[in-house]
């Protein structure tokens, strides 16, 4: 008997996920985004159980392949894989043979030869996850590639907004800071627009250039004018360690023009959310007391990141895939 007969009636809403990889939010339809968020909501409950583990990915191997350093994203993926009963191997740039001159593709093919089912890739070059996903049978999950995309961060951001405010459509979200170099900003913009939110980018003209308006967002260099009308303010980290050129005169000047100080926070709507992908520079993008206030959902974002990553791993690697011919 090849096709096992179905016991009862067919599922009410057939899941619409057919991807083996998650490379970019830009590729996803609003329905796919919503499916990930709904699936994540179900997986969030697993972390509240006495035994925080389900067997969905039992017997699968996940390789955390981080060519660029990261602690929280890697740990979040690692924990998500553990909760789904997958086995995890961590490889960083220094422990891989990339430092011996092996190409990315050769390293990845070696991992696949060891029967890695899922490769979570963080890479400094935009397009590296796409490159691998087209060449490997394994699932490839983008954990951040250059200044391109960081899809799971955007998913956890919209998940947190939806959980706290009940919806995403119709909300006005400000993304503040280093937009130009931020893969988080790009993924967030795509996710928010696809789900029907209005997005305004805020920053100095060197870091929030007008070209972004082509994506369908507003750009402003004056944070004070938009604070009273936004529902969510998402503060990006100033990556001062990466600034090779001077994009603004000093951190102090950045804070005085764009930092979310206590005075500025008072101008927000009472129920507006304050978000930050972390790690936060206290006293730069955000005042310490604002980061710890009731409106800050920064730690919710971390918790939700785990649920969202469980959902992504389950969706991309859970089902049987037809063997490539």
């Amino acid at each position: 008997m090849s096709a096992k007969p179905k016991a009862a009636s067919p599922p009410l809403a057939a899941p619409a996920w057919t991807r083996k990889d998650l490379v970019a939010i830009r590729d996803l339809s609003p329905e796919e985004l919503t499916l990930v968020l709904d699936t994540a909501a179900a997986f969030k409950e697993v972390s509240a159980r006495e035994i925080k583990k389900v067997p969905s990915l039992r017997g699968k191997t996940l390789v955390n392949f981080f060519v660029e350093p990261s602690t929280r994203t890697r740990t979040s993926f690692e924990l998500a894989a553990f909760r789904l009963s997958a086995d995890v191997v961590n490889i960083s740039a220094t422990t891989s043979s990339l430092s011996k001159g092996e190409t990315l593709k050769d390293t990845a093919r070696n991992l696949e030869a060891l029967h890695a089912d899922i490769i979570v890739l963080r890479h400094s070059s935009a397009g590296a996850p796409l490159f691998l996903s087209q060449r490997l049978d394994s699932s490839v999950i983008n954990a951040g590639d250059g200044a391109h995309e960081h899809p799971t961060q955007a998913l956890l951001d919209v998940f947190t907004i939806r959980e706290r405010l009940g919806r995403v459509a119709g909300l006005h979200v400000a993304i503040v800071g280093d937009i130009l170099f931020s893969r988080v900003a790009r993924s967030d913009i795509f996710a928010l627009l696809k789900l029907g939110a209005k997005v305004t980018l805020v920053g100095p003209s060197t870091l929030a250039p007008r070209e972004f308006e082509k994506l369908g967002v507003r750009v402003t260099h004056d944070i004070d004018s938009i604070l009273p009308e936004v529902d969510v303010v998402n503060l990006l980290r100033i990556q001062h360690e990466r600034q090779r050129r001077e994009y603004f005169p000093s951190l102090g000047e950045y804070t005085s023009f764009f930092g979310l100080t206590r005075e500025r926070a008072e101008r927000l709507k009472p129920d507006a959310l304050i978000m930050h992908p972390g790690p936060i520079n206290r006293g730069v993008e955000i005042d310490s007391e604002i980061a710890d206030s009731a409106r800050s959902v920064i730690l919710d974002q971390v918790t939700n990141g785990l649920a969202v990553r469980m959902a992504v791993l389950y969706l991309c690697a859970g089902a049987a895939r037809p063997k490539p011919s």
Binding site: P5, A8, L12, P15, A42, K44, P55, G318, A320, P322
Partner: protein, 188 residues
Amino acid sequence: MSQPAPQPPAPEASLVLDEQAIDRALRRIAHEIVERNPDLARICIVGIPSRGVEVARRIASNIETFEHVRPDVGVIDVSMHRDDLRLRPHLPTVVASHLPPDIAGLTLILADDVLFSGRTCRAAMDAIASFGRPRRIELAVLIDRGHRELPIRADYVGKNLPTSPAQRVYVRFRSVDDSPDSVWIDKE
């Protein structure tokens, strides 16, 4: 009060239970549950999505009608616990589970529409085990169609329905399917 005859879900399907028969079966199950579990504060009726949740809700409503106490109702997601995920071309939709915070002293009564191989029930028991250790787990089903693949039997059965393994059984609930309450079986 005459209602139009429900439309079969497949052209050759024949009606096994109509609205009244389903209602009678679920009322009898409710009586049997009360008979075996006099302390209604210590039971929780746990539906297996999707239609098992509706079965659980109706059994609980029946118990409330007879006993004037509404037992707890829960939901247990089984899709994360299935042993055949890697064999399926499409993933089942996962939904959040809801169980009472402490299940240690409770009798959990699993509710589902159709009992077939028993694998869904096994997955539900595995899922429950990750929440704690209930005092007892029982199983209530609207239809038992046989062909078990595991050593599992139901404690409460609405109707035993002899089938061939390839036949399909359809359960329709007005509240879930926008179609009158009915159970159908495909032509052999």
